[in-house]
Subunit: 314 residues, 4 copies
């Protein structure tokens, strides 16, 4: 693989899966990166597990060392409620796996993003459907919690910097310092490269969220190193960067017409994204999709941290 | 102008202004279309008036015969509240002009679009800030209304077909039949071609809204012919079609590299929009922009139909 | 029963059940009114059926002739999701019974009330969770609908007069005229007398909604007589009138201290409600309750008019 | 004043003004409490300043030592926009006074309360309309801020315990620890005794918010002592406690009928609030009132901490 190709692929995706796909020969092992796939034909759900093992892998993938699990469920966009249960069970399974056990732990869930921007409202909408329990556990005691199979869960939607004047990381660091959770689960809307992954894919990782990963901007990162607690990040791609979509379509068109690698490279490097920076592409039915998938994720999280909701009511 | 060029420009815009710009030689008169421009340097506001005079003009512009006034106010996206007043005054002025007088008339305002999709929420948000008066006029009488310089205003946000199972035109036709307004003002989010026009431009027209204009789909149109009342449509472009943005960037890149008209045409005609159909491009701060500009429009409408709000309170 | 008692009980309730309870001797038959009760001990759900048979009954009950079914499910306020299913099944059962069959019918659901006032948002929230199908049936045909066990459903939240300047009845009459449904289902928040019924009780009736029932204000009524289509009204008490709660507590206190019927009557008739008119009493957790019970009702309605949602997706 | 009377008046109000009124002889000085009144006849705005000077005053008033300024503006509920300006100017004036200067200070504004419960949404709605600047000041520097007369403002709506599992005080303490503001301004919906004060009255105090004041529950208090920063609390009464309204009406009725102090006392002490605890009374148009008054307060706060918004844009 030559550098030019790498440049062309140097477009924004928050999915480790897509980063991995950007390498041309799909079958060749990238050093330091392990890829596993599973497919449930009946449910039409594909699970991909990308493990970045060492620094070499991290550099190649431009993502931190850790485990990235992707649930691809193309049918989840549809209206069938029955389909959501297997997906929410998978969400629960992988959160529990990455958390290495949740019993007796206090979890803080943070719904990142802007509540009033549909494509960015995933995090706040997930939080709106959580069944928080920390105040109950504190009031009625751990015996009560144990009897009801209830861990201690708290949750917050910190808003975005344009609304608060603060970084989400500042707000969360303060709350963590004050309330001492064992695990932070962060929910966020992601950017994908492929339009077909929008609102159908859930990525769960134990690496947290690292804006501008590797650039030393660690203060704004939400990960174990910066926060001192275990961090699990759960994201759904809801947008594609407008510049990325333009470049991808153009590259595809040029290749189809027989342009050489070199020519494609030259062509694209002359383009400017100026007027589409700060623009994103999103589907027209994004409101329905977000409502649906945020509900599925809430169900998954609720079921991890409160295993017997029925009993507790009675 | 050859046909190829026309084809290339055959992309979606709801602005008569942009349709007019798509003709190559800007200075040449298009038969049946009159263009006038005005520029207020101090306020940095440009007014363009496109009059489509006859069928020939309508065909060339692919828009119905009538008047299209566009207010371009690039600074309206900023935070300065003082700037909104001149824009809302212009909105009021042109509504009043196109309505050919409002005294003693009953106006129904319809805020089209999907309240839960930020880029489509312009109409409902405008309606949320209106000061409706029809029930007051009915209760306290026309003498009261006259004394308070209050016309009769009603308003509705009919929702979108995916939420209601009905066309907006069906809902509005029923309400008009029942409540007999003299004027319908429809507010809607539009699609533009140029990213720079998003959330900075207001189009006001006396032609109403004609989905698939000229294709005989008149039943869903919202215009005087189909509804039997005067219709004024007020729109703000909030999105660019994703396929349009891809094609426009590509065309620009190809031209810059010296491709001939014919080659550009061939190139683009081979592209497929498949995976970006039903996708739109919108700025990241669309929530703020919509909140701001819908408030400006509400103020404009309120001031047309209720000229002395202060007096009425006392 | 003397007149004084009747006066004391002359306070606002939208529940036929509570109107019936206001008669002192519960066991004595009121002429023209039949009462039946059922109790499901396991689920702790009580069903009461009040049938007003004739004019005499209507006058005594101050409600129109027809059937009033009340589902009292005190546990529905709790967080247990499993509990909602039996309630939503009962909702479906009684809608289907009162509609005397739904096959091949087109239903319009109207969510009355003010979306931005929590205690009044029941109707709009129910509509937000409906799976409307009318546009699908029109696009894909009745064969498609039949195969998928889908009736034609449309829905609207018309807003309140302070927002629209129009009566809900005007808006709905227009839409009905235009779209010709066979059945109108109206959802509305109700006023109860008893605090304990708030958010735990669902009333379903085939009499529609008659503001100021019997006062000749029929134009604003939503019933078969005024609209020309079958009307089923579904309501949940979410508030108690502030004046009612004050009078009830006072009456109770006076009786407890041995005041005579006559004295209680005199005492209360001297009170003025002036400063609590236009005030209502509602529980602090009304937001959770409304969210929960509106979801239960949506599920019930969806299951009546779309019996095989899963199949339709595949 | 005898103890019985005091007991009768021992009902919930968050307004120092109403606490003061509960003392029978209005003209007699309460030791340790200074009362000043001002009335602007033209604007129909009354300003009351209650200063609690020492422990004796604090005990009598059941409120912490400090200054309580109340703006009573009965006309603010109306639709006249012109009226809001003088009120927002008063809000600005008293915040600046109680803050003893704001130049060069960093303020954090906290909008307490439940966004999805209309009567409790004042705080979040105020925050939604703030113009936060802390991130701008950090990015562009203090020179830029100074030139634009912009102080550093951040803001958060922490939600309520049922949504987050955390006390607001925990969340705010963490954020304050992390971001080090000089002043905390807390906005909250209050409970009043008098229905006529709902949504027409603004209380501004330098004592912060002390739930269960004086009961040693200091950990949940939001005041200078517990947080280590200056705290200004700004509140608007939006509800009356249901038990309070019942007792007040009953007391009034009993007195009118000539019951003695002793008898009234006995009567009320036998009543139970059981079924109206956790219930509140609120006006039917609370959504409009909250929208309006929260906008007025936002304007006031914005103008204190950003004195030249226009200049900054240019």
């Amino acid at each position: 693989m030559n550098d030019n190709t790498r440049f062309l692929n140097n477009r924004r995706t928050d999915l480790a899966l897509e980063e991995r796909e950007s390498f041309e020969e799909d079958d060749v092992e990238i050093k330091g990166v392990v890829l596993e796939e599973e497919y449930d034909e009946e449910q039409n759900i594909k699970i991909t597990r990308v493990e970045i093992k060492d620094e070499r892998g991290a550099e190649a993938m431009r993502k931190p060392i850790g485990t990235y699990i992707t649930i691809e469920a193309p049918d989840i966009a549809g209206a069938d409620e029955g389909y959501h249960e297997p997906v929410s069970k998978l969400v629960a399974k992988y959160i529990e796996e990455l958390a290495r056990g949740v019993e007796g732990k206090h979890v803080l869930v943070a719904g990142l993003g802007n509540r009033s921007l549909t494509a960015d409202a995933l995090g706040p909408q997930v939080v709106d459907n959580l069944f928080v329990t920390r105040h109950l556990v504190r009031e009625f005691g751990t015996e009560f919690a144990k009897r009801n199979k209830m861990e201690s869960m708290s949750a917050i939607s910190p808003g975005v910097m344009g609304q608060t004047g603060m970084e989400s990381s500042e707000i969360l660091r303060g709350i963590i310092e004050e309330t001492k959770p064992d695990i932070l689960v962060v929910i966020d809307a992601l950017a994908a490269r492929s339009v077909s992954r929008l609102n159908t894919t859930i990525q769960i990782t134990d690496t947290g969220i690292s804006p501008g990963a590797g650039v030393g901007n660690n203060r704004n990162a939400l990960n174990e190193e910066s926060l001192g607690v275990q961090v699990i990040a759960l994201g759904v791609p809801t947008v594609v960067d407008a510049a990325t979509i333009v470049q991808d379509r153009m590259e595809e068109a040029l290749r189809k017409r027989g342009f050489s690698e070199q020519e494609v490279y030259q062509f694209l490097s002359e383009m400017t994204d100026q007027d589409v920076s700060n623009m994103f592409v999103t589907p027209k039915n994004i409101d329905d999709s977000i409502k649906r998938i945020s509900y599925t994720i809430s169900e998954g999280i609720n079921s991890v941290f409160y295993k017997a909701p029925t009993a507790a009511q009675s």
